[in-house]
């Protein structure tokens, strides 16, 4: 394994490892040498070349999610869902590597609580898509509803269209990338991670964010409490270029002109500030 010293790594330069929260929330890094951090006991050994499809039209979400698990148990690594019909809670709780291809749209809570799969959705998704995602990649070709990527902890969540309100609410890691516009309260109470909005953003952007960074390509209607503008760096620009390329968002953006929003950290440490001091800080 090539050795990179701590200070040479780009992620340190971007401050990705300096977002140490104090108080009740403690940051923990996984050790990549410890395999058990990356595999669940009941994960199945799947072959990505082994492909099958499921017609979802007459299935309830519970039946479908069980069927996905049964197919993974049989070694299928690529599963195509046909006729999802915007049903709710499809593809939740997949805790391993899998190529999941959705031909159509999902309803609420689609692909929530996942850890590892790569998901491609050709349609739209409803509220709370990929909520609590731990790792993996989710790509949505059309629009998404509100609470997109609520409380995600890792992975890349990509919507090529526009998203509703409160995207990235309570986010604790990972990256949310939106090709279009985003609604009110984007990044509300965000704690770590990155959000990239290529288009315009609604009011109260980054309201009460503890930490993390939000990049906006278009206009911002208003900033929320304790959200402040920060200076774009060369490292930010190179990271954004790379990330949007990986996200397959083919949009001409002048990255240097993007707006970078971070926490003012006046509301940051709730443990140490008395209510009267907190009020004064605002």
């Amino acid at each position: 394994m090539a050795s990179i010293t701590k200070n040479e790594h780009k992620s340190y330069g971007m401050g990705l490892h300096d977002e140490v929260l104090t108080g009740r929330t403690q940051q923990t890094f996984f050790n990549p040498e410890e395999g058990e951090n990356f595999f669940y006991d009941d994960a199945f050994d799947v072959d990505f070349n082994k492909r099958t499809s499921i017609d979802v039209e007459n299935l309830e979400c519970l039946e479908l999610n069980k069927k996905i698990k049964e197919l993974m148990k049989k070694g299928y690594g690529t599963i195509v869902l046909k006729n999802p019909g915007a049903k709710h809670s499809i593809g939740v709780g997949i805790l391993q590597k899998l190529n999941l291809i959705v031909e159509g749209s999902l309803g609420y809570f689609g692909v929530g609580s996942i850890d590892g799969p790569v998901v491609r959705i050709s349609g739209r998704v409803g509220w709370s898509c990929a909520e609590n995602m731990m790792s993996g990649k989710v790509v949505i070709e059309k629009n998404a509803g509100s609470c997109f990527g609520a409380a995600i902890r890792g992975g890349d969540l990509i919507c090529k269209g526009s998203v509703g309100a409160r995207s990235g609410i309570d986010m604790k890691g990972g990256t949310i990338i939106v090709g279009g516009d985003a609604g009110a309260f984007t990044g509300f109470m965000m704690q770590r991670g990155r959000i990239i909005i290529c288009g315009d953003v609604g009011p109260n952007l980054g309201d009460s964010l503890y930490d993390g960074t939000i990049f906006v390509g278009g206009s911002i209607k208003s900033l929320g409490a304790d959200a402040v503008e920060a200076e774009m760096t060369d490292l930010d620009v190179s990271w954004l270029k790379r990330k949007l390329k990986v996200a397959e968002i083919d949009k001409k953006i002048d990255f240097k002109k993007m707006t970078k929003i971070v926490s003012g950290k006046k509301l940051w440490n709730y443990d140490n500030l008395e209510p009267s001091e907190r009020k004064g800080a605002i």
């Binding site: 915007a86 739209r124 509803g145 009110a184």
Partner: protein
């Protein structure tokens, strides 16, 4: 939680009753207590269509007070008297259920006086009064109500509907949506959310002579819009004013004889999914309702916070 749905065809009439039934049935999980439809026919009638009830549905699950069905006939006779006294003429009478009626009546356009007289009869409530609007609501899911009132054959241009989960008021027809915007013909409202300044607004509107039949916060939106229209505002202006005057979290739809509108609060706290094409606009709390009409792949989106939209039939 509640579910709302609506659709409007541009320039044509279809089986809007059957379409709304499909949309509302797919939202049953959002509200199983009662279902309501506000359906709009061709609107070419010279006469008014009056939908009213003289009692409540007291089947299992209802929170209404049990009544002897024999009182309904006496109340209907009294309603007939009141219509005559107001100068109206009954052209056609249909009894749909023991407590629910559909009349076609000739009357002048002073609906307020007529409505006051009809509603002076004990336990009587006008569900709708208009030349194209027919408002039907009852206890049960969309299928039950559509079968009970034969809505699957209703032809028209547009409609809105509601599946209700009773939270702040009882399981009865009185508290079910949609609400007619008394006393304006052909205006109806459905709502998903909670209004937190209900009593302040209600008291202010009552002082202006507006009437409330229930303690359901959704009725306030209908009465609020009716009052604004009475004061000379057009529908879209009235809806925009509501975003600052009404406090709380809400998404609502309003329909008139040839328009359908929607408004979303400034926090975008309640859901709404929208599909728009050249000949059809369909909107609902969940995309699954739109998919019940259009199973093929379509483009939909969520309207943003503080958004108001109005479409013409």
């Amino acid at each position: 939680m509640c579910g709302i749905a609506g659709l409007i065809h541009r320039g044509k009439s279809t089986n809007v009753g059957g379409e709304m039934q499909k949309m509302l049935q797919s939202l049953k999980h959002r509200g199983p207590d009662s279902t309501g439809y506000a359906l709009y026919g061709s609107g070419k009638s010279k006469d008014y269509i009056l939908r009213f009830k003289v009692g409540e549905n007291v089947k299992e699950g209802s929170s209404a007070i049990m009544e002897d069905a024999s009182v309904y006939d006496a109340r209907r006779d009294e309603v007939n008297n009141q219509i005559s006294e107001a100068g109206g003429e009954i052209i056609k009478e249909e009894q749909i259920t023991p407590y629910s009626f559909r009349y076609v009546i000739k009357c002048d356009d002073d609906l307020l006086e007529l409505a006051k007289k009809i509603e002076s009869v004990e336990m009587t409530e006008i569900l709708s009064l208009g030349k194209s609007l027919e408002l039907i609501k009852d206890i049960g899911d969309a299928q039950v109500v559509a079968d009970q009132y034969s809505l699957n054959k209703f032809n028209g241009t547009h409609g809105i509907g509601h599946t209700r989960m009773a939270t702040e008021s009882g399981v009865d027809i009185r508290s079910a949506h949609p609400y007619w915007a008394y006393p304006f013909s052909d205006v109806s409202v459905v709502h998903n959310g909670q209004l937190t300044n209900y009593w302040n607004n209600r008291r202010a509107l009552e002082r202006k002579g507006m009437r409330f039949m229930s303690s359901c916060d959704s009725e306030l939106i209908a009465v609020y819009l009716a009052n604004k229209i009475r004061d000379g505002h057009d529908l879209e202006d009235a809806m925009r004013s509501s975003l600052s005057d009404l406090d709380g979290v809400f998404t609502y739809m309003v329909a008139t004889k040839d328009k359908l509108g929607m408004a979303k609060d400034t926090m975008a706290a309640k859901p709404m999914v929208l599909y728009e094409s050249d000949d059809l606009v369909a909107l609902a709390s969940e995309e699954v309702a739109i998919r019940s009409l259009l199973p093929h792949e379509i483009d939909t989106y969520d309207p943003y916070e503080g958004e108001v939209k109005v479409w013409q039939a």
